[in-house]
């Protein structure tokens, strides 16, 4: 089982994602300019500030050469996880519904938040149970999840809401407290919190490991 972790110009969490993935499998970096997933069984689009967040978060990274391969991989059922900026990139690419807008506070936020697992039947949550409470950090300026109301209704009906902020812990004004969503098939998941920063007791929580473990279980 091998993870591929994309590195764009401006990524900053790709090494943490790589190290987190290596706790459960093999992992290597994928270069944004290559049309090559290097045989990865699962792809992580990590956090950071790809292309300096110029124009709109994720807007330019979404057209990077490696993303053509990620799109083909995702559309053929391959597991893809977008974390923070990676979530923004997957939304821009149309692989996930909705968009991320500036936090209502207009401030950069960096804090531990409580999350509830809403759907434990995606490639990236199968090691969890619905209702599980996870403690995972967020660190972003543009994390307010938005989709038009009818789309939100559809997401809820389809089980595409994967993670919600715990009651009272929505840090950014996300509609319906949504912290992470999936595509209809459940192989593509994106979330604003950083599971890769919660894999060691040293930093306060190991709850993020379940996300990486899930995909290993899903592929075996």
């Amino acid at each position: 089982m091998k993870f591929g972790v994309v590195r764009f110009p401006g990524s900053c969490d790709e090494v943490d994602a790589l190290l987190a993935a290596r706790r459960v499998g093999d992992a290597e970096l994928l270069w944004y300019a290559d049309h090559d997933l290097r045989g990865a069984d699962a792809v992580i689009v990590p956090g950071g500030f790809s292309y300096g967040d110029y124009l709109r978060v994720g807007a330019i990274a979404r057209f990077a050469p490696v993303m053509e391969e990620v799109e083909l991989f995702a559309r053929s059922g391959g597991p893809v996880l977008g974390i923070c900026n990676g979530f923004q990139v997957l939304c821009e690419a149309g692989l996930l519904p909705g968009a991320l807008l500036p936090n209502t506070s207009l401030r950069f936020l960096c804090r531990q938040v409580g999350l509830a697992v809403v759907n434990a039947d995606t490639a990236w949550t199968r090691a969890c149970s619905a209702g599980d409470a996870l403690s995972i950090p967020v660190k972003h300026t543009t994390g307010r999840y938005y989709a038009p109301d009818p789309v939100l209704d559809e997401l809820e009906a389809n089980g595409q809401v994967v993670f919600r902020y715990a009651p009272g812990e929505n840090p950014n004004g996300s509609l319906r407290d949504i912290a992470g969503v999936a595509n209809v098939a459940g192989n593509v998941v994106g979330l604003m919190p950083h599971p890769e920063h919660a894999v060691d007791p040293l930093t306060g929580s190991e709850d993020g490991l379940a996300v990486f473990r899930s995909v290993v279980g899903a592929l075996v």
Partner: protein, 72 residues
């Protein structure tokens, strides 16, 4: 030709930047200001203006959250 693309947050989507500016103006003595929205301006020279809409839809804006207006 030279073109400008004005990009605005879609009506109905919370615009905290606009709200913050709206609240800041009265503090400076500018009264009677409402409906403030903050968007972006893209200016460009281009050979084929018929491509502008496609540029806006694919890259310059996210049609889910933004409206645009072309001033050629």
């Amino acid at each position: 030709m030279r073109a400008r693309v004005l990009i605005r947050p879609k009506a109905g989507i919370l615009d905290p930047q606009g709200q913050t500016v709206e609240r800041a103006l009265p503090a400076l003595g500018f009264e009677g200001v409402s409906n403030v929205h903050v968007g972006r301006l893209v200016e460009l020279d281009l050979d084929d203006p018929s491509q502008l809409d496609a540029m806006c839809e694919r890259l310059l804006t996210n049609p889910l959250i933004e409206d645009y207006e072309i001033q050629a």
